[in-house]
Symmetry: C2
Subunit: 137 residues, 2 copies
DNA sequence: GTATATGCAAAACTTTTGCATCCTT
DNA sequence: AAGGATGCAAAAGTTTTGCATATAC
């Protein structure tokens, strides 16, 4: 992702937008809150206002560059929309986020929706529990 | 549900709690925000403070009497925990909430979790789209 | 040069908390 | 009588907005 993605989205290539994009691409942690992004930039010589970070992330979401998640109890987090669609497992002990795809689940969502004459536009599936490391043996 | 459910949950039988319980049981709409509950009580001779509604709903959640949902973009909503487990479809046009259960989906959640050595404690599956009435033909 | 973007501070909105008072047991 | 529950107002946390200034094209 680079400035051409911004242009395509109808967004001017500005330093704040490039910085946010770069954080999203290079951060070790894939799911970041607006404040996470803001804080990563604080060390930076020219940091951004938190309001700008929110505005940029919202524009990115509208442009389809990022996906916003509202996981339980947390503030909103954002991830780059650069992978195939996937759902999430979240470890309630260490916070780790595991991404997964399950075609059977996807298919059955469609089937159950059809059964109710419902047209799916989007869905959100999140499993909460403990990961390999955090599950007591 | 009545005062005995409160006692069992270790909660004193108070008027505010009974009122909230009664709203949850008798409201036409099943999924209510704290403010929805608060507003239904405003006409009432003795209404409750919003803070009390939040406290009561939180206690009910801890006691397992209600389930709290954080649907996308909305404030938290609460529903009585009096049905079997189920997931939700939400019409993004009319706000209607349809409850459903799909054993295949449940099963495949377990399978995919196992594959990742993940132990599910809870999950949240919500389909967003348009219902029968709101889907353009 | 013009339109759009940003920064800052203030506002908005949801939810929680402190504390004095009241109610249930 | 004692402990827990409530109301009110204030605080906290997250996200949005108004407006003057700065920046991209």
């Amino acid at each position: 992702m680079d400035s051409s993605d911004l242009k395509q989205a109808g967004l001017k290539t500005t330093l704040p937008r490039l910085k946010v994009l770069s954080i999203l691409e290079n951060s070790k942690i894939r799911h970041l809150s607006a404040e996470d992004v803001y804080r990563e930039l604080l060390n930076d010589e020219t940091s951004l206002g938190l309001a700008t970070v929110y505005r940029v992330l919202t524009q990115f979401e509208e442009a389809g560059l990022v996906i916003r998640h509202n996981f339980e109890g947390e503030k909103a987090v954002f991830e780059l929309n650069d992978l195939e669609h996937h759902d999430h497992m979240i470890c309630i002990k260490c916070g780790r986020v595991i991404e997964f795809v399950d075609p059977s689940i996807e298919r059955h969502q469609e089937l159950v929706a059809e059964r109710h004459d419902f047209t799916i536009q989007d869905h959100s599936l999140t499993l909460y529990g403990t990961c390999k490391t955090c599950t007591p043996a």
